[in-house]
């Protein structure tokens, strides 16, 4: 039995190397590396989305309520980050900061600013914070006037109106836009592979370089990204059903 299994395995390797346009057995041999790559991609994407999302809430409130001093600087921040490519922002932080002696001599250099992981996380977080701020601001500004008037009539303080009325409904309205932002962030995370990190695409590039292949690594990376996007859209559909369920059209029941 063991004999036939081995020959079947050898047959598979033979087909994979000689007959198949894609050397799938070679990919299968290195599939663990792709999973580690996926872990890095997910890690940075999730952390950046979390940090950026937490930053975006106060920034969006300040923008929506036109804070006297904060509104313009925040708009400058979002305009800068939304108007320029993430790749160049990441290069600026990772390759650029080393230009300054005071950065290289500071206590932050050794643990954080010289590491591609931290540089990517900082840049990605600021980038997604900028995008999230702007669409969250839109969602806050679209709160129905009557809801706020009702809350005021109940005697709520402005802070409580924001906490109890404005933010919960704004989050709901921003949910579909946020699912796009999450997918865009995942797409943008390929920038990781350009600053020496082994994310999904990084592993694909490594595999192609090591075995002198033309497309195996990229096709595998593509499949991994597609699976992730599929899971994200699935998750958001469940989430939207839960949080936006009251807005769904429902069948009218006649008594």
């Amino acid at each position: 039995m063991a004999d036939t299994e081995r020959t079947f395995f050898e047959y598979l390797v033979y087909v994979s190397e000689n007959r198949s346009p894609l050397d799938f057995m070679l990919v299968a041999d290195h599939i663990d590396k792709f999973f580690y790559g996926a872990l890095l991609t997910i890690e940075i994407t999730v952390l950046a989305l979390f940090i950026g999302g937490v930053m975006a809430i106060p920034l969006a409130i300040a923008r929506a309520y036109r804070h006297r001093w904060l509104n313009v600087p925040i708009f400058g921040f979002t305009y800068f980050f939304r108007g320029t490519p993430l790749l160049v922002q990441t290069y600026l932080v990772y390759y650029g900061l080393a230009q300054f002696d005071f950065v290289r001599e500071s206590f932050l250099w050794d643990p954080i600013l010289s590491s591609p992981w931290w540089c990517a996380l900082i840049t990605f977080s600021l980038n997604t914070a900028a995008y999230t701020t702007e669409f969250l601001r839109g969602a806050i500004e679209n709160t129905a006037k009557g809801e706020i008037e009702a809350a005021r009539a109940c005697g709520m303080s402005p802070a409580r109106v924001i906490r109890r009325i404005v933010l919960p409904s704004a989050f709901r309205r921003a949910l579909p836009a946020y699912s796009n932002e999450v997918i865009f962030m995942l797409h943008s995370s390929v920038v990781l592979s350009t600053i020496t990190l082994q994310d999904i695409l990084g592993v694909g590039r490594w595999l192609n370089g090591r075995y002198y292949l033309a497309y195996e690594g990229f096709i595998t990376a593509m499949l991994f990204y597609m699976a992730l996007v599929f899971l994200i859209s699935k998750g958001f559909r469940v989430w939207e059903k839960h949080w936006l369920g009251h807005l769904r059209a429902r069948a009218t029941v006649e008594n």
Binding site: P85, L87, G204
Partner: protein
């Protein structure tokens, strides 16, 4: 700052490549978007499925992955196909072509959604009125669908274009001598990477700000005669 001035020609040449790349990709994406929208709106279920698969694929895969696949893999496939059929000897897929095709392909999917939504926003009665007046399909497209489609599509088109300009930066990763590539090479040789990358960011901001102003003007033009609430 002196080093930027010293390398101004290199930066300007790179900017020209970036702009050419963006415009060529935009042209391809508009063509693909029109075809995709037509396929999605056609009564034919096969064309709907193909267009649906196209937009799902693009939503699932990052543009840099497609670009590398096309640049490294496409080269080999094209030459294998050439030697198999004997139709051509050697095809070179350079960085510019790979960039245009992959960015155009990706944004064609976004344009498909843009144009589809814009066409659906035109009241059906207007097209029926056109038919009733005896217009041929092409005349209906030219006189009724196209002008209104542009008006409905412009906000989303503007958004796509702004994202597209930024996506062109990725082509530097496969080695096209665009703005980013030239600037990082220059930055490395004079050991001022921050200065040069910052200059690149400013140039991108200028490009996006200019196109924002231009497209707003276009939007106003196409909205002449439309009541605004």
């Amino acid at each position: 700052m002196d080093s930027i001035w010293e390398y101004r020609n290199l930066l300007l040449a790179g900017t020209a490549v970036t702009v050419q790349l963006a415009l060529a990709s935009l042209a391809l994406s508009v063509v693909l978007g029109l075809v995709g929208a037509a396929a999605k709106l056609a009564a034919n279920t096969v064309s709907q499925k193909i267009a649906g698969a196209y937009t799902t694929l693009v939503r699932g895969v990052p543009d840099l992955v497609l670009m590398m696949l096309l640049f490294y893999g496409g080269q080999q496939i094209a030459n294998d196909l050439g030697s198999l059929t004997g139709w051509w000897d050697y095809l070179e897929i350079n960085q510019f072509i790979a960039g245009v095709w992959s960015i155009g392909f990706v944004f064609g999917a976004y344009m498909t959604e843009t144009f589809r939504g814009a066409i659906l926003a035109i009241p059906r009665g207007q097209i029926e009125a056109g038919i009733a007046c005896g217009m041929r399909p092409f005349l209906i497209f030219r006189r009724i669908t196209w002008p209104q489609m542009i008006r409905h599509a412009l906000p989303s088109f503007t958004n796509n274009w702004l994202v597209l300009i930024k996506a062109t930066a990725l082509v530097s990763v496969i080695g096209l001598h665009d703005l980013v590539w030239n600037a990082s090479t220059a930055g490395r040789s004079v050991r001022e990477p921050f200065t040069f990358m910052f200059a690149v960011l400013i140039i991108y901001l200028i490009l996006t700000a200019c196109s924002d102003v231009g497209l707003r003007w276009l939007e106003r033009r196409y909205n002449v005669g439309v009541d605004r609430a």
